[in-house]
């Protein structure tokens, strides 16, 4: 519920992506940042007295539904990017025999 904690996850993800030397780990860190962002958005719109945004009887207040709708889209986008990146990483392994960014980009050809 605390936006600060979810922001810390984003920061950890950024730290990870700035230090990870392996392609797979970079992709994982990308997922971390994304999940942190989703959490942050949901946390900011959270209110204690709000209900789940489904219309039923005697509901007077709901949590903000727009972030939820947007975040579903974001999850789809993130997962598709991950899938594409993973396929590319397999290809890269077969081309360069390694998955370390440095080795891959140092090789000629």
């Amino acid at each position: 519920m605390n936006p600060i904690l979810s922001f810390i996850i984003i920061l950890i993800g950024i730290y990870g992506i700035c230090t990870s030397k392996h392609i797979i780990k970079s992709i994982v860190c990308f997922n971390l940042i994304q999940t942190g962002t989703i959490l942050l958005f949901l946390n900011l719109g959270y209110s204690e007295e709000g209900h789940i945004p489904i219309i039923g009887e005697q509901i007077e207040k709901i949590v903000d539904p727009i972030p939820q709708a947007l975040m579903i889209t974001t999850i789809v986008i993130g997962s598709t990017i991950t899938a594409l990146a993973l396929i590319l990483s397999i290809k890269i392994f077969h081309y360069y025999g390694s998955l370390y960014w440095k080795v891959v980009f140092d090789r000629e050809g």
Binding site: N31, I38, S89, G97
Partner: protein, 182 residues
């Protein structure tokens, strides 16, 4: 309720720290799966059941599967063989010379060897672009030498060349990707 949510968040932070500092990829993926499962719980506690459902279905079921599949694909060494004698024979008592060599090589890199026979000789040009073959083995019948053909770009080929240095009958050929028509 809030306390549980905060606890889960702290747990998430712990998991993400261990993801960032972990060196083993498989473990990272398992962590990631549990991470997204826990974050799905958090979404639910944040009164967002739709997002939670999406995260459970995608983040903790399908995505880890893709990760595991791609990691297992990255542990394979695919060899296409055009040889029909027992150079690559793999039976209990007798293993072919080439097979031993390749086994030695893949053990060094902790890769899984995957050999398949290709009956008809495919054209070599552009084959590495078309399919994910790592090594092609061919035999010159007249001189009885074996050619191990691989990509020049692959760093694994250096080690293979080192392994067969003193062997006259085996030659490692590194093929350079030719410039494609633009």
């Amino acid at each position: 309720m809030v306390i549980i949510a905060n606890l889960i968040q702290v747990l998430l932070i712990a998991i993400s720290i261990s993801i960032v500092f972990s060196k083993d990829n498989t473990r990272v993926v398992v962590f990631l799966a549990s991470f997204s499962l826990l974050s799905a719980c958090l979404y639910f506690l944040n009164k967002a059941p739709d997002v939670a459902l999406a995260e459970v279905a995608i983040g903790s079921a399908i995505m880890p599967l893709f990760y595991i599949l791609s990691i297992s694909k990255q542990r394979e060494f695919i060899v296409m063989s055009h040889v029909d004698d027992d150079y690559l024979k793999n039976e209990k008592n007798q293993k072919g010379k080439g097979y031993l060599l390749l086994e030695n090589f893949t053990d060094y890199y902790k890769l899984k060897l995957y050999i398949f026979n290709d009956a008809e000789k495919a054209e070599l040009k552009g084959i590495f672009r078309k399919s994910n073959v790592d090594l092609i083995i061919e035999k010159d019948e007249s001189t009885n030498t074996y050619f191990l053909i691989g990509k020049q770009s692959s760093i694994l080929m250096n080690k293979l060349a080192q392994l067969v240095e003193n062997d006259d009958k085996t030659i490692v050929v590194k093929v350079k990707e030719s410039e494609t028509r633009d």
